[in-house]
Symmetry: C2
Subunit: 371 residues, 2 copies
């Protein structure tokens, strides 16, 4: 099945849109009401560049929510399950956000820009509305808004050399998830060691949406010696690496899950005594023990031609979980998946299976990450 | 420019997805994290069916937010600028929602199911998160969730005859925006006289997501005698009719507008004395007078081949507004647009223009609706 995407007025174009079109993007998805490249027509090459070289991604659709003002720290701490009191200026943190029932509603990266100014780099749900409602209803002295910030990622083992060529040798000392405000040919940006892969790399948070094409071309030109090429957050690599995808593996509206189920229990911190959204519900869930757990799957049979999604996992004619996404892993040479399974399934892997268009396939559980 | 859309795990398929694929959908967009058909490959025919016959649309992406419980009415009244105290059970209302600064964040249709139970049928932003945050922070005794409800629309002058064939002659007495719970071959649904066009018609709020294909086939079969065919919310007709498109004409994150600017001032009701989100900000805006107004545009030159979006409107080298969307109207035989213009532009239409890929075009202001 192949369909066109409507290029219309109600979905935004990224600052890198024209550059990615010029570089041959063939397929888009939509994330935070913005077009995001999905493929450039060479899935094997795009995967290989990420694993062995360096890829450049338009991830402007990871929109930022800025929280600024005297109560910014109070709001930020209230919004996340994680204790961020020790977070330093210039440090990023992965911060789960839950609703008042303890269901995950987003899993952004927090960037602490100053004592009273934060960005959260969000997954696909309208956290600006969420944070604004909570700030206003609690009477907090804080501004919540979307700044003009649009990340581009360079990911892969050669990303550090490229970043050093672009910005200087100091980038090699930037620790994982830390960042620095800087500029490139007068283009203001924040450089962070981060990105939605486990292949290492950086994200360039462009701070002037009018300079998207300029930044794209600078990175592309500097990357030529490393055979850089365009790509996008990669389904295969994310399953291999066990990276959670909010919206794919869980979404609060129709297949909710809590952080304990999703393997994020260590990021729910009750010890500080600070209140946070969902605290009571999550304490109860922790006490009772989670009903499901996030896991890897190995799927039998011939290599999957494309990723498959949202397949119920069956044992003894009962649905006992679901495979959120499954792919063929070129490195493992087998079909692997990721998703949730009931904590109380009988006899481990006995008789687990899924039904695909081409028939039934056996499934076994596997630890995450695969690689 | 033509691109594929990624069919992936983080965007939902509608209950009608398979039926629309079988009926030849060629292009999708994404709305409320769900695929929504955009075209079936015959733009002229799809427009003509809507204007002269009857079209069937998968609008399941108009997701519902259900608000239920003892404080449901209190929450609902607090969320909207409109006085809904006189709204009856079985009645729908168009209810603008604003943030605390008075910016529109959605413009749903409210359905009052009982004294303590409402649906809001939302435009493209995560109002479930918004409403849930406000309910929880205010300590209201209410449930906020997404029910299993997926609208399909039948729109066009022959939609009433079709609805009468399907449900009975009583549908002819259903007033505009009113609704009734009913069933079709055992499929539970709410039938409402509504829909995102001015060509009249109904929406069938399917209440069992597993029956999407069944409902689609029943409507299609009954519609054969009226030459029914698949379609989608229609850009051309909506500009002709002056229908606001939230996300296209304004979005709170990056081009916000308030109800007074968007021609919805009559739906902001200060008289009841009830508090609602944005009340103080909106009272100030009303006192000061809105800075912009929502208007139609007529655009000179040869017929536009496709709709164009987000074009700045220029006068004397200054940007004085923007044309959110413009189309060629087959009925008016001219190019028309919709969008916002500064309230203080000089000398009316003098020298207004936009710049398109094929050159500069003169623009004149026009009243909405065009038709």
């Amino acid at each position: 099945m192949s369909f066109q995407i409507g290029i219309g007025s109600n979905i935004r174009k990224s600052p890198y849109f024209e550059a990615t079109v010029a570089d041959g993007v063939s397929c888009f998805s939509v994330y935070n009401h913005m077009y995001i490249p999905a493929y450039f027509g060479d899935p094997d090459g795009e995967y290989k560049r990420l694993i062995e070289g360096v890829a450049m991604w338009d991830v402007a659709a990871q929109r930022q929510v800025e929280i600024a003002g005297p109560d910014a720290m109070a709001l930020m701490q209230y919004l996340t399950t994680r204790d961020i009191s020790t977070t330093k200026i210039g440090q990023g943190r992965y911060v789960p956000l839950c609703d008042h029932d303890g269901r995950l509603i987003n899993d952004p990266v927090l960037l602490k820009l100053s004592e009273d100014r934060f960005w959260i780099s969000i997954a696909d749900s309208d956290i600006e509305l969420w944070a604004k409602a909570i700030a206003a209803e609690r009477g907090l002295d804080v501004e919540v808004f979307e700044p003009d910030v649009s990340p581009m990622a360079i990911q892969g083992p050669k990303a550090e050399d490229l970043a050093a060529d672009l910005f200087g040798e100091w980038v090699r000392d930037v620790r994982y998830f830390w960042f620095r405000e800087t500029a490139l040919n007068g283009i203001p940006l924040v450089l962070a060691r981060s990105g939605w892969s486990k292949q290492s790399g950086f994200e360039l948070y462009l701070m002037d949406g009018s300079r998207g094409t300029d930044l794209w071309e600078i990175v592309k030109t500097a990357g030529t010696k490393y055979d850089i090429g365009p790509g996008a957050p990669n389904d295969v690599e994310r399953v291999e690496s066990g990276l959670l995808s909010y919206g794919s593996d869980a979404r609060h509206t129709h297949f909710p899950a809590n952080p304990f189920e999703l393997g994020l229990g260590k990021l729910v911190d009750f010890s500080s005594g600070d209140d946070f959204v969902g605290r009571d519900a999550l304490l109860q869930i922790k006490t009772d023990g989670p009903k499901r757990r996030y896991t890897g799957f190995v799927i039998s049979g011939v290599p999957l031609e494309a990723s498959q999604n949202q397949n119920p996992l069956v044992q003894n004619d009962k649905t006992v979980g679901f495979v959120a996404e499954m792919v063929y892993s070129p490195r493992l040479r087998k079909n692997i998946g990721i998703g949730l399974v009931n904590a109380d399934i009988n006899n481990g892997n006995d008789g687990l299976h899924i039904r695909l268009a081409d028939g039934v396939r056996r499934v076994t559980l596997a630890n995450l990450p695969f690689l």
